[in-house]
């Protein structure tokens, strides 16, 4: 939907400021009441969900003014969706959707962020969001004897994702995932060097056309593999295949699972029995893309009913963050002997963003690190020895910030813990 179609939603914003805080019933103290990294870091109201909507509405009426401050506001947003959830606790209106559309409009109007533009250009050429560093995409799998889904038809395809494939520090997660799936008796294949980017991050960066082109390529490869189920250990890829592809009519009948969902299933069926005890106090970070942004897309078309109320025919079902993937990772952690979970103050649909979303990690690394630092400080408040997550992007950023700032907190991808337990 184009920005124009959200004019009614944007006009609904009353500047109540709920978008700046966790849903009010979940405020647990003075600390950790904020939910939006952008307004928390930059303070001016135009960095909040509500301020952005008012700017968007004014842009539609009077034309967009791409002054430096506006562009700074536009790109210093993680698009993490926290504002959307908090607003929709009380209101019936879209928040994240129009904010995303404002970014798309800026790109279409010739105002992309130069750093993000570079990342997207790389994707166009190499099919990857990250630098390959001279290695092949499937190099991590050398010697593992995994099924090559470019040659053999498979039911289950493990999509590794750009960062996990190429980043030497993240490749261990790919290998661990493969081991866990094998131990669970899952017959799966990988595309190896043939795998390509899901395109999801390009969409967030505002490059919708590039996303669609890339998604077309990726979908074709998946189609050719014969896969009926796609499983991924990357939260960003999960959200792209499960939500964005569905939204744009590219998902078809493909079942999309995050690896935590599959592991939970395998554990419940008794096919995976973690038995090796670990003694570890952990806290869990909900990646935005797996949590609130991972909520299934709802196909709906309708018209506002004229009159006093903002209601539609047929009634509009809102995505409010209710149906994200929150419990499977927690149930997996609960099934690991010796692993004890202590929750942070901001969790599930109102979790504080880990900092890597929305292209900010590329456009403004300092802001990304600030956001991650806030999360790590919250994690430290729980007394946990380690922060566990389910996204390579969060894990990488957390590790990066901890390396700079020091501290005893360890960072794990959840699959690493499962791998260690079996």
């Amino acid at each position: 939907m184009a920005l124009e179609e959200y004019a009614g939603d944007m006009s609904m914003c009353c500047r109540c400021s709920a978008c700046k805080f966790v849903p009010l019933q979940q405020v647990k103290g003075f600390k950790h009441a904020n939910v939006c990294p952008s307004i928390s870091r930059y303070n001016f109201h135009f960095y909040s969900g509500g301020g952005r909507l008012n700017l968007g509405y004014a842009g539609l009426k009077d034309g967009f003014k791409y002054v430096p401050r506006y562009l700074d506001t536009l790109y210093n947003c993680h698009l993490c969706g926290a504002c959307d959830v908090s607003c929709k606790y009380g209101m019936d209106m879209e928040v994240l959707r129009p904010i995303q559309e404002m970014r798309i409009r800026a790109v279409e109007d010739g105002h992309p962020h130069p750093m993000l533009q570079r990342v997207v250009e790389r994707m166009r050429v190499t099919g990857s969001m990250v630098s390959a560093g001279g290695q092949g995409r499937g190099a991590w799998a050398q010697g593992l004897g995994l099924v090559d889904a470019t040659k053999t038809k498979v039911d289950v395809l493990y999509h590794v994702g750009c960062l996990t494939s190429f980043d030497p520090d993240r490749q261990k997660v790919a290998a661990a995932t493969a081991r866990v799936l094998e131990r669970g008796g899952v017959a799966f294949g990988i595309l190896g060097d043939g795998e390509t980017c899901c395109g999801g991050r390009a969409y967030e960066m505002g490059h919708q056309a590039d996303f669609l082109a890339q998604a077309g390529k990726s979908r074709e490869l998946i189609e050719q593999s014969g896969a009926k189920t796609l499983v991924t250990s990357c939260a960003v890829c999960y959200q792209a295949y499960n939500v964005l592809y569905d939204r744009f009519g590219l998902k078809g009948d493909l079942e999309v699972l995050h690896v935590t969902q599959l592991i939970e299933r395998l554990m419940a069926e008794g096919r995976l029995k973690p038995s090796r005890p670990q003694s570890l106090e952990v806290t869990y970070h909900d990646p935005c893309h797996l949590g609130r942004l991972g909520e299934p897309w709802i196909h709906w078309q309708g018209k506002k009913i004229p009159g006093d109320r903002f209601v539609f025919d047929p009634p509009k079902p809102y995505r409010r963050g209710t149906n994200g993937v929150y419990e499977p990772p927690r149930r997996v952690l609960a099934g690991l002997p010796g692993v004890r979970l202590t929750e942070m103050d901001r969790i599930k649909e109102y979790a504080w963003c880990g900092g890597s979303c929305g292209g900010v990690i590329d456009s403004n690394p300092a802001f990304a690190e600030w956001t991650a630092g806030e999360r790590l400080a919250e994690a430290a408040c729980t007394g946990a020895e380690a922060i566990v997550t389910a996204s390579p992007w969060s894990e990488k950023l957390f590790a990066q910030v901890l390396a700079k700032r020091g501290g005893d907190l360890k960072v794990y991808d959840i699959v690493e813990l499962v791998d260690q337990a079996i």
Binding site: A18, Q25, F30
Partner: protein, 496 residues
Amino acid sequence: MALDKDIYAAFAGVVGEENICDDPAMMPAYFFTDFAAVILPKDTAEVQALVRLCNKFKLKYRPICTGWTGFFPPGIVLFDLRRMDRIIEINERNMYAVVEPYVTSAQLQAELFKRGLCTNMKGAGSQCSAMLRGHGHLDQSMGADDRNHLAVEWVTPDGELVRLGSLGSVGEWFSGDGPGPSLRSLISSVVPPSCTPGVFTKVAMKLYHWPGPVRYSLTGYSPRYLLAEKPANMMARYYSFPTLDQMWQAEIKIGEAEIALELMGFNAAMVAANITTSNEEDEAMFKRLSQEVQGPGFFVIIAGNSPDDFAYKKKVLETIIAENQGLSLKSVEDPEIEGILLTQCTRISASVRETFRPGGNFKSIPIMGQRDLTIRWAVGAGKAKLPLIEKGLIADDGGGFFGWGVEHGHLGKTEIFCKFSPLNPEAWKAVDAWAEEQAARAVDEKYFALTMGPEEQIEKKIGPALSNYHLWWNKALAALDPNEVIPEKGISKLHP
């Protein structure tokens, strides 16, 4: 309109370049108000310096803290106080908390619950500042308005720093009226134009005993959080009555018995709004509850300090309700709905559902006065809404109003509002006319004087009805604001 270069430099010299923005392209973010600049001071000294600069340059200014922008004339300077966000002190022994403007009610309350204390949060919602003056769900047992403001640190319109109440004489925060200057009549803003001139930079809020849990145990996901376990010795009910008089008699008796933690005169539409998660659900629930109630009613929460205390309060409540032929709404007796209302109404977390969700805007007439009089006025104001509802200009709430007694007394708050779409000029016009007529009727028929009202009525009606207070107010304001930097004149007529 951007600031003059020299003026910008002077402001930036106080707060730093990163804390000022005068880019006209960004001002639409501030809810349709075309501010000359937005400035983010970090403490009282910076506020004082900014105010003095405004006086020097004869620039009108307005502070804002957490929530809800009003409508302001173009070209004024906005002080956004969001960097002033510290809880300075929670004094458990003397039962007050000292806060800066950007501490939210939700934050303060969550800290207070841990200490067995609470503060009366305002009905606007717990995202709003903890220092906000006004009324809320807990008025019945926790005071209201400026009575909960103890000592205050105040930057006057011309930049003088004044410490009010005990702070002004002994440097302590425990009292609003002395020893030291009170000035309550100047700062309370309980009569139109309802705005305190200048900036409050720190306020001590009065605290009360909290009989509930240190934290509610919630399950589920937004937008439907459920209470995992109802706290011991707490109960929420909605009672409806055959007649308005029986409702009022029950309200008086409950007040006199001092048993209610909360008595909130919700109408069926407001109950429906609170317990539903979308407009469609709300509409259906309103229809259902309208069938279920026998007449006007109110919502009550009782909370005991012990099982015996709870049993006593419950028995007294049930006796009073029975004596006045009240009926408990079955829908609210449903433990799930009771839990939702219990948590939402004590944490004031769903106000936007009652106000902004249906159409995006609402206009309210809030009043303070003798409840039986104000109820009678509100019945008429509610009837006057019906033609607007029939025309589809405002949301259907059955012509409802709401209200409650403060501090268990007969004096209380009554409020009525119209919910409508801000994009409908016809609705704006009709609602403005309704508000003006009902405000005039309130004074003409001698029910009360408004706490907020159209500006011309201050001089014509409200002032003369209240010992010509407006003449004194204007003299005081002229002394406090020699350079006329307070922008309040004309605000009541502004629309986006």
